[in-house]
Amino acid sequence: MRTAQSERPQELKNWTPTENSFQQFLHWLEEGVDSNGEKYLEMRRRLVAYFDRKNCLSADELADETLARVAQKLQEKGEITDLSPAHYCYVTAKFVFLEYIRGGKRNQVSLEEISAAGLPDLEANPSFPDSDSANQEQMLICLDRCLKKLSSSDSELILEYYQGEQQEKIQRRRQLSEKLGLSANALSIRACRIRGKVETCVKECCGRK
């Protein structure tokens, strides 16, 4: 877990998670079902997305701070039973966000600041700023590499699921769900998982984090 030491409350600045406290935290987060660390990664992802939607530029650090505070609280109290692990993480994340926006360093970027910064008129030029041709080629190379890392069934699923437009896409997904024997919801979740895995792989391949 990464921590933003400079932004933490004083009483927490001296706390360093230990192996035991981390294992305790994982066990509590998984609620007795061993997920091999997947629950922790999923919770971290949700927290990062939460802070990102709040337009926090340091979403990763804030997510880590949230998880560290929860782990510390668990270690101090020994157990947390008044809220479920997910709810406790959310409540902690809210406090972290409130402290963040009330704190001295405001990393949040407002819409006005975006306009003032003279960013390109995205409405006029819908092409993505970072999507220059070199980056796109690199993206395609990494995408091809990461798709090949998948199993043939996963690779086929993700390419088939996101193929086509509008009605054609709906038809393809219906046929795919019938072929795999999955409900539409189950198929959507599976496609999301695979896409997320490929996205992470492509980011690492392209050198982004």
């Binding site: 919770m43 949700r46 927290l47 990062v48 997305a49 939460y50 990102d52 939607r53 337009n55 530029l57 979403a59 479920s84 997910a86 709810h87 993480c89 959310y90 994340a93 809210k94 970027v109 819409l111 975006i114 995205l122 409405e123 819908p126 993505f128 700023p129 970072d130 999507s131 980056n135 796109q136 993206m139 395609l140 990494c142 995408l143 091809d144 798709l147 390419l159 996101y162 193929q163 437009e165 509008q166 959507s188 979740i189 496609a191 999301c192 896409r195 997320g196 490929v198 996205e199 492509v202 980011k203 982004r208």
Partner: protein
Amino acid sequence: MTPPDKHDPNDPQLMQYLLGTLPAAEAERLDELSITNDDFSWRLRATENELVDAYVRSELNGDTLRRFHTFYLSSPKRRDKVAFAEGLFRFQADAAKEANQSSDVGSFFSRLFTPRRIVFQFAGAAFVMLFIAGYLLFDNMRLRNDMSNAQAVESSIRQNTQELEKELQQQRAANADSQKKLEPASTESPDLNKLDTLALLLPPPSRGLSSIKTITVHPNADLVVLLLALESAEYPHYRVTLKDPATDTAVWRSAEVEPTAAGDKPGVSVSFRTNLLKTQNYVAEVAGISKSGKAEVVGDYAFHVVVK
């Protein structure tokens, strides 16, 4: 993780949430669900993917497109998601283009050798082969049958021939024995010029009563020559048997002789020693011998002998 909230938002609400246009209270509620509710969390991710894909495919317009530009793309992480979606879209487009090119090249062959056509072609070939095999099998059986019939006929013919040959040999042997038994001297060829012979010409037997011819035999006579006239010479050979009519026993039998002329009619001429004869009636039975060896009595010639 807590179970799904009973007031799950719909997709348009999720779109507003992702574009930052939802009222604060509602947005806060969805903030909590995004972390605490598994189902909502996945729905939100799927909806965000659909939103980004729609932008990449230029399916967004109006206020949604403006908001996407001004709000969604303001985050580096969200810009990374868009870049990934663009890459995925291009990857699929390139793959589809390659697939179309290869399908054009192979379309001719695929039309010619469609799975359906191949199935029909194989079925047709299999049917023809089956028909030929069936015909050959039938013809083979017919030929075998003909061959076995021919062999049976050949065997039967061979057997019949052997039986006929055996019967012929038996008859010849019987004739030879009979001839030896009845007339040992008949094997000799008497010299008529040196012997004292008596001749008797007997006409063909008639139906009505007729007188019996008599031949007087002197004790010094050696041979009696009978000349038996025939109505017609139907047979190639004849045999004459001298019988005692009282006992119907054969006294003498001739060899097979060919017909000769007896006056203006055909006839058979035989001779035998006079010492066979007594004073009594005799009958000369004439039998025609066919080419197959079968004997048929053609006439009985009666005559009286007086020995003085």
